[in-house]
């Protein structure tokens, strides 16, 4: 489908949208904590898919991973632009909770794998990866230096990816 989109096939693009549009919006709603701007960013994600479809290489992995990365990068670009324009409010009720006791947005396998991480890595991954906070925001929230937070995220994601691969192998 992406090969056809890369060739400029609008009907393939419509089929792609039918298959992935709702899932992409769900992910953006999670990252944006329900913010209506998620729909604006979805438009940017879809334009990016149209423009860079030729760059997708199935050897790299499935389409979902490729799409998720576009989604995530577009969301944080948007969040950074917003942060420059509007001072971030602290203590906002829409901020993600530190606890993962209630994570209905994650699939069961992801939630279980996340629960198995050590607490420090789990909180870092939960806030900065699934919760949509920037690394700077998450470091401030957890009271740790930025470098420490990045290290915890990197190691936590490695543990999480390995756990998921083990579960499915």
């Amino acid at each position: 489908m992406l090969r056809a989109i890369a060739d400029g096939d609008r009907s393939a693009f419509r089929a792609f949208y039918g298959r992935w549009g709702g899932r992409l919006l769900a992910i953006l709603r999670q990252l944006s904590r329900g913010d209506a701007r998620a729909e604006d960013v979805l438009q940017e994600v879809l334009v990016a898919v149209w423009r860079r479809a030729a760059s997708y290489d199935p050897v790299r992995g499935d389409v979902g991973g490729w799409l998720y990365v576009i989604c995530r990068n577009r969301w944080f670009d948007h969040a950074r632009r917003q942060a420059r324009e509007v001072a971030l409010e602290t203590g906002d009720a829409s901020q993600p909770e530190d606890s993962i006791d209630e994570c209905p947005e994650l699939g069961l396998d992801l939630e279980q794998a996340l629960r198995r991480l050590p607490p420090e890595k789990r909180r870092a991954v939960h806030l900065a990866f699934f919760g949509g906070l920037t690394h700077e925001e998450a470091a401030s929230r957890l009271g740790v230096p930025l470098g420490t937070l990045k290290s915890r995220i990197r190691l936590g994601l490695l543990d999480l990816a390995k756990a998921l691969q083990d579960d499915y192998s």
Partner: protein, 202 residues
């Protein structure tokens, strides 16, 4: 350039940079440079990052949310309204062009009679992305990297004391280093360079 029988090994970005490409923390100019390398490097493309693995799983299992009825029409209208891409005639890979999203003609500046550059975009970290073209066998004017420079070759080749660079190669020149690279033969050398803190020519 090197006359060795076998080409030197390809030069790659560090694994941490490729992981960061997928975690949402890099600026568009940083991503553009890495995407330019990935387009030419099957080895790095093959290395799925943890963020892709986890994110792909999340996307596959999440419950869809119905977008507004007119969202697709709005996107299609944006595609129709997109102006022609000023980088379309340059060997900049699609994913890198998407990150740059240039909406004005290239503004070329000459460094010498056989070397020119055009600023493409910048970020909040005082990093500026340039497209650079230097004629075959020319020597780029010697310059010092005040805050460091990262380079990906998009066409042709070059050589300097750090070694030769070919199509798709990536190299980081730390702050304070200087060089006057010599271009390869045949075609002009075209590259993307990401400069932090400016360059000093002498």
């Amino acid at each position: 350039m090197s006359s060795a029988d076998s080409p030197p090994p390809m030069l790659h970005p560090p694994a941490e940079a490729l992981d960061a490409l997928a975690d949402g923390t890099l600026s568009p100019v940083e991503r553009a440079l890495l995407e330019a390398h990935l387009a030419h490097c099957p080895l790095c493309r093959r290395r799925a990052t943890p963020a892709e693995t986890i994110g792909g799983r999340q996307l596959a299992t999440v419950a869809p949310v119905a977008p507004p009825d007119d969202l697709l029409d709005q996107v299609l209208a944006r595609l129709d309204a997109t102006p022609s891409d000023p980088l379309a005639d340059w060997p900049v890979p699609p994913a890198a062009r998407d990150e740059i999203d240039l909406d004005r003609p290239l503004d070329w500046q000459s460094l010498s009679t056989d070397c020119r550059f055009a600023e493409l975009a910048a970020d909040d970290l005082d990093q500026v992305l340039y497209l650079v073209e230097t004629e075959p066998e020319a020597v780029m004017p010697r310059h010092r990297h005040l805050g460091g420079e990262r380079l990906v070759v998009l066409q042709g080749a070059l050589d300097d004391p750090w070694g030769p660079m070919m199509l798709g190669d990536y190299r980081h020149y730390p702050a304070g280093t200087d060089h006057a690279p010599v271009m390869g033969t045949g075609v002009s050398c075209v590259g993307l360079i990401l400069v932090r803190g400016g360059l000093e020519f002498f």
